[in-house]
Structure formats: C-alpha cells, structure tokens
Amino acid sequence: MNNRLRVLRAERRWSQADLAERLGVSRQTVNAIETGKYDPSLPLAFSIARMFELKIEDVFHPNGVSGS
C-alpha cells in the first residue's frame, strides 16, 4: 500500500516524532509506514486520516494506484 504520509507531514512541518506522539505510536511505526515497510491497522489508518482532516483514501491507496 502506498501513502502520502511523508508529504502531508512535511506540509505541516511535523517531525516523525511529532506525528508519532499525536497518534500515540512509536517514531519507528511512523517511519515504517512512510517507507512502506509496514501497513497500519485500520484503526491507525483512520486516526492518521483524521489527523490530517482527510479521507482515508486520500492518504492511503493500493500499490499501482496513484493518490490524489
């Protein structure tokens, strides 16, 4: 699954640690999601989307499908 997490985070000038703290996860979890090493659970994916005030499909999309 691809995601726009790094771009969205950079737009808000949040560090990985900032985002991790807001989400209540470790910095390594944020990093692993950004680098595509780990796909988040559905509750965490929803939390991330809510954090950026976007729909989940605006943040995450299947491999080969480009995001908005």
Partner: protein
C-alpha cells in the same frame, strides 16, 4: 515520547517492558536459587515446596506482565514481538523433535531446560531481527 525510549518503544511500552523485565529477572533469580537449593537438598521438603510455589508464582506474574505489555504495545512493536514468539516457538519445536532423532542415533539426552534455552535465545534473536527489519531510517522532512 522521550529521547530515553528506543525508537520502537513509546514511553508507555518502555514502562511496561521494564515492569516485565523486573518480574522476569526476579523469576529467573528465584529459579536459579531454587535449583541450587533443591539439587543440593539444602532445605527441608516443606521449604522446598514453598520455594517452588513462590518461583512458579513469580513466573506466572512475569508471563501476565508480558501479556499486558503485548496487549498495550504499539502495533509495530507487537508485530515484532509476535513474529519473534512464532520464530522461538518454531525453533523450539524443531530443536526438540530434531534432537529426539539425534538421541536415537546416540547423541546425549537433552534436558527440557535446553529446549527452553533455545526458545529464549530465538525469542531474543527474533526481536533483534524484527527491530532491524523495521528499523527507522534517518528522518527526512
């Protein structure tokens, strides 16, 4: 989150893991002491039973604290630990069953503690492998 936490651990995870490590250490010390005292018949039977019960209770508390840590853990940390547990369980089964065949070929008898040791080493190794697999790269803004 603080600089004291490894990147895979939240502050809550680190606290829960320290709690588990404390109970685990206490259980291992009690197990070592009980083994020495019971093997050498250095204490009366009643005290031996009490020491055994105390050691088992400490092990159960350690197991319970690990379950609590795992339930509340950050989801990536939980994945790393579950993969490590699966690796340790599989390696333990392979070691036990494989060595049973080796015993039939004349290898010395294996103690149950040896299999437990294999599982513990593989559990720790599995955690290391998992944390390397998902290791955080340098942050890019």
């Amino acid at each position: 989150m603080t600089a004291n936490c490894p990147p895979l651990f939240t502050e809550r995870d680190a606290r829960a893991y320290r709690n588990f490590a404390g109970w685990m250490t206490a259980a291992m010390v009690a197990f070592g002491a009980a083994t020495i005292l019971l093997d050498g018949r250095l204490i009366p039977d009643a005290a031996g039973w009490a020491l055994t019960a105390g050691t088992v209770i400490l092990m159960i508390v350690a197991m319970h604290s690990y379950m609590g840590f795992l339930r509340g853990a950050d989801e990536l940390l939980r994945k790393v630990h579950l993969e490590a547990l699966a690796f340790a369980f599989g390696a333990g089964i392979v070691a036990m069953m494989g060595y049973r065949l080796c015993e039939r070929l004349g290898a010395p008898k294996m103690d149950v503690n040896d299999a437990a040791l294999v599982m513990m080493i593989c559990w720790i190794g599995g955690q290391w492998i998992g944390s390397r697999r998902y290791a955080a790269e340098e942050e890019q803004q």
